[in-house]
């Protein structure tokens, strides 16, 4: 285990904005959880129903067969299997249909050819599903192809899909915020955070195309902070703590700050390559990359704009702080 460990990690009074962001996230989480749990269980009931999925898969297969050019070749060959009455394939295609914005928009109006009864019950459940989306916090606040606006690009950053998601994001926020906020200054930190989050949403939309499954979580914004950090400390070394099975068991090590860029970009680019757009994934790698690039860009621009010896004014007064953090050459 090697994790970044900055000096100001435990000095809370210096990081009001970080604490504010944390509080906002926590409040949103607490307020939204009852509605989330309620609608999520209902949605899962529908989505895990075999017959619902099967009919949906058959419907989607018919949609694909009608206009083959609009869909991925894998989806087309899957739909051919469904048309041959392969019920497993129908269920898989039914699941994939949920990730296809074309399907989610036009499915209800598509003239389905086949069994009236199962279509009627599918329609009923799909209606319930569509109604649930108006209540479900992930859909109302999250950024998705159905709800693509700058408002949702802002609000999605403060919604999380579960406690562990929230905890991990907040831990990283504190790790970075405790160093970056005093370095960059509160207002600039906040702007950087918010804009990176929005950049992440638009990057996600641009690279992998927005899906009906909403994008939620602070990770895009946090990646932006990482980008800003790597710009602010470029060419210097940062302190990390390591926990390894050596004689000393634990200690500190100074590693170059570009380690962040290399490490995270490798992971996210790999993630982006390995997930097919029609299959989707649990982690929005494109959003991570978008956030990171936005944060980096903002930090770079600020350097040029201020043109103040590579550091924002406030940091220059805090040399002691920097000395303790960055290894002197």
């Amino acid at each position: 285990m090697i994790i970044p460990f900055f000096n100001d990690f435990l000095q809370w009074t210096r990081v009001p904005v970080t604490i504010g962001i944390f509080a906002l996230n926590l409040i949103v989480y607490i307020v939204v959880t009852p509605a989330y749990v309620n609608s999520q269980t209902q949605i899962e009931d529908i989505v895990n129903n075999d017959r619902f999925l099967k009919t949906q898969g058959q419907l989607f297969a018919q949609m694909i067969t009608k206009s083959k050019k609009h869909y991925d070749s894998a989806l087309v060959s899957l739909s051919e299997r469904v048309n041959d009455r392969n019920s497993d394939s129908a269920e898989i295609l039914g699941r994939l249909a949920m990730r296809n914005s074309e399907f989610m928009e036009h499915a209800q109006k598509f003239p389905y050819r086949g069994d009236h009864i199962s279509y009627a019950s599918w329609k009923k459940q799909f209606k319930i599903f569509a109604d649930l989306r108006d209540v479900h916090p992930n859909y109302t606040l999250g950024y998705s192809s159905v709800d693509k606006s700058w408002q949702t690009a802002l609000t999605y950053q403060f919604v999380h899909g579960g406690l562990s998601h929230l905890m991990i994001n907040m831990l990283v926020l504190f790790l970075l915020g405790s160093y970056l906020e005093p370095t960059l200054g509160g207002p600039f930190f906040l702007i950087c955070y918010i804009l990176s989050g929005m950049g992440a949403a638009f990057g996600f939309d641009l690279v992998s195309g927005a899906t009906p499954v909403p994008l939620v979580g602070a990770s895009g914004a946090i990646m932006g902070l990482l980008g800003a950090l790597s710009v602010a400390t470029w060419g210097k070394k940062l302190r990390f703590v390591w926990l390894l099975p050596t004689r000393a068991f634990t200690g500190f090590v100074w590693l170059p700050s570009w380690i962040f860029v290399a490490y995270l970009m490798a992971t996210d680019v790999a993630g982006l390559i390995e997930t097919s757009s029609w299959l989707g994934a649990g982690v929005a790698h494109a959003a991570h990359i978008g956030g990171f690039l936005t944060g980096t860009l903002i930090a770079l621009l600020s350097r040029f704009a201020w043109n103040s010896k590579h550091q924002p004014a406030r940091v220059l007064n805090r040399e002691l702080h920097l000395d303790s953090l960055i290894q002197p050459r």
Binding site: I2, R51, Q58, A74, S77, L78, R81, N83, R85, S87, D88, S89, I92, L96, R113, G114, D115, H116, I117, S118, S121, L244, P245, T246, R247, V253, A262, Y263, A266, T267, V269, A270, G271, L272, I273, E274, T275, S276, L279
Partner: protein, 646 residues
């Protein structure tokens, strides 16, 4: 030429100017482990980057269910992973003398020969062997605890040694350290060998089982399972569905096949009544409400058709009077497809209208798929009507065409049926077929309670009163059957009350089965006091008259009451049976005695007219039906004879 000791840096280099430089100490195993962990952390993102395109393909293959390409690509990806790992290590060793992890821990890999740096081939060899050691569960790495210079195999083969530039190093392992390490390696190796052996044994057993069962199990492929002539290519979706529904009606089709066929029909024509009927049948046991919806839909798409009529009958089957249903079925039957015929056979068999069953079966198709169903129902109906000889002719002509495995099932239920009244009714043929079949391979075949029970009953008949219950394969049987045999044994040993308790438990079991019915029958026949009989009689009256075993229980109750000279109760039970279509001659003779003895002379007369022997008396009398028994001298002697028989 004498080679210098490669480890003795002091002596070999004592003449060089570098002599004062302290030789680096050996790296500690802990540090080497930590370096590996760091390398791992660095390699994970790199590897995932390398493997990302493959993963994408693999996911697609998995979703598409393309097994061949999935395995192919997996192997390819693993080879690539291996190569990438080797390249990572070899490159860093060649350029920097240490991987990044080792650099972080300030370790270095040096050659044991006094020269400046490693050659590339040494680096490559070391990496390849290192990765092979990883594949061997990392066991060879443990040599760092036992080797003199802490050099595992990858170090020895490439003439390298790992040293540290930290202030602390380690010496060669002590004797104790060596001993512990070697012991640990031996223990792990033994453990792995045992584990591997056990797994291999398990796998072999599984394989063996699969091989054995693959012959008997029907394949998942729906078109093969039907076993019909290979005309399936030519037949249309509608014909296929009709065939599946026929199979379903005789209890042979898998519901998923039926549903598949129905889906196919509905995809071709969404307004096909047959398709909805098929869907409804397929869903009947899974989701009753949905199944009813499909039934209703049939009449919506095809008003007044045969399918619509049939769906109405099916949907009201549980609710309305069975007489009405029989009437509407009779109207529907001429020119109806097979599945309706088979369904009707089941209905009429259940309400004990055996003549109608035989009539329908006359016109039924005799394809091998339906053969067992047709045979079973025809045989059982003939037996129930008392036409024993006829039944056996049918059985004999049919059983010749079957293989041994196929014979077992019909032989068992025929044998079972014959034995139901008494051991005296055992007829030679089918029971003989059954006994011949099971002799020798009892353990494999008698795994269902039904077959086991048949066998037990034959044995108990062979050796008069249930002494032949010594069943050698008892542990192979289902638990219920085991308990049943246990109870029988207890009863034989005159331990009546525990035996009764066990039987009661079996009789009350919530899952209806053959053993269940059998236990109830045994309980009745074991009962001795009058109160017991009236208790059982009350229970019996509350049961569903069309459930399996109801007739058998009723008959035994009748006999029991008669044997206690309680003829009025016997008559009541008999009348119940008669009202529910039980009209076999054996039963009627019994009922006549009971009615006569309990002074129900008119009823006795009525039943007498239904017997074959009454024909003689009709002739003896003057061409009209006799009004009382006094006019029938033959009856008196018949009566005397049968009374004695009771």
């Amino acid at each position: 030429m004498v080679h210098p000791d490669p480890f003795d840096h002091n002596s070999t280099e004592s003449n060089t100017p570098k002599a004062h430089v302290r030789a680096p100490a050996l790296a500690s195993p802990q540090d080497r482990l930590a370096a590996t962990v760091v390398d791992y952390l660095i390699m994970v993102p790199l590897m995932s980057l390398v493997l990302a395109p493959w993963k994408r393909v693999l996911q697609a293959d998995l979703v598409m269910g393309d097994d061949f390409y999935f395995h192919f690509q997996t192997i390819l990806a693993l080879i690539l992973l291996f190569l990438a790992g080797v390249l990572y290590q070899a490159t860093f060793l060649w350029f920097r003398g240490a991987t990044p992890g080792k650099r972080l821990l300030r370790l270095e890999v040096i050659s044991i020969w006094p020269r400046q740096r490693l050659t590339f081939s040494e680096c490559l060899l070391r990496s390849v062997v290192w990765w092979i050691e990883v594949l061997l569960c990392g066991l060879p790495f443990l040599a760092v605890f036992s080797n003199y210079k802490r050099r595992p195999f990858h170090d020895r083969i490439s003439d390298t040694v790992v040293v540290t530039h930290r202030w602390y190093g380690v010496r060669s392992p002590s004797i104790m350290e060596k001993g512990i390490a070697k012991g640990a390696v031996h223990a792990v190796v033994v453990f792995l060998i045992l584990l591997g052996g056990f797994n291999a044994y398990q796998t072999l057993r599984e394989l063996h089982k699969q091989m054995a069962s693959s012959d008997s199990l029907a394949s998942d492929d729906c078109s093969e399972e039907s076993g019909m002539e290979s005309s399936s290519e030519a037949e249309s979706a509608g014909q296929k569905l009709e065939r599946e529904m026929g199979l379903f009606a005789v209890g042979q089709a898998a519901t998923n096949c039926l549903e598949k066929a129905a889906d196919q029909v509905l995809a071709e024509n969404p307004d096909s009544g047959l398709g909805y009927l098929g869907k409804s049948f397929a869903l009947a046991s899974v989701d009753a409400a949905q199944s009813d919806k499909y039934l209703d839909e049939v009449c919506k798409v095809e008003k007044g058709s045969q399918g619509c009529e049939f769906s109405r009958i099916v949907s009201t089957w549980n609710k309305s009077d069975w007489r009405e249903i029989s009437d509407s079925l009779r109207k529907l039957l001429p020119k109806s497809p097979d599945y309706i015929k088979f369904w009707a056979v089941r209905h009429f068999f259940k309400i004990r209208d055996y003549t109608k069953v035989l009539e329908i079966l006359q016109s039924a198709p005799m394809s091998p798929t339906y053969a067992n169903f047709v045979l079973e129902n025809r045989f059982k109906s003939l037996l129930a009507l008392g036409q024993v000889d006829q039944a056996h002719i049918i059985f004999e002509t049919h059983i010749e065409h079957l293989t041994d495995d196929q014979k077992l099932e019909p032989a068992s239920w025929m044998c079972n049926e014959e034995l139901s009244d008494s051991c005296g009714a055992v007829l030679p043929l089918s029971c003989k077929v059954f006994s011949d079949l099971i002799r020798g391979h009892e353990e494999e075949m008698l795994t269902t309670s039904n077959l086991a029970l048949t066998d037990i009953r034959i044995k108990s008949c062979d050796s008069e009163e249930e002494t032949g219950i010594d069943v050698p394969y008892v542990h192979q049987l289902p638990q219920q059957a085991q308990l049943y045999i246990e109870a029988l044994k207890l009863h034989l040993q005159n331990k009546t009350s525990p035996a009764k308790k066990m039987m009661e438990k079996l009789a009350e079991s919530p899952k209806p089965s053959v053993i269940n019915i059998e236990a109830r029958v045994k309980l009745i026949s074991w009962a001795s006091s009058t109160e017991d009989f009236s208790k059982f009689y009350d229970l019996w009256k509350r049961e569903d008259p069309f459930s399996a075993g109801w007739v058998r229980e009723g008959k035994i109750l009748m006999k029991k009451f008669s044997s206690l000279k309680n003829y009025s109760e016997s008559f009541n039970a008999g009348m119940d049976l008669y009202e529910h279509n039980v009209t076999a001659p054996e039963f009627l003779r019994f009922l006549i005695v009971a009615s006569y003895k309990s002074n129900h002379l008119q009823e006795a007369m009525h039943f007498w007219h239904q017997l074959p022997e009454s024909e003689f008396d009709l002739h003896a009398a003057t061409g009209r039906a006799p009004a009382s028994f006094n006019e029938l001298p033959a009856f008196q002697s018949w009566m005397r004879e049968h009374e004695a028989g009771l």
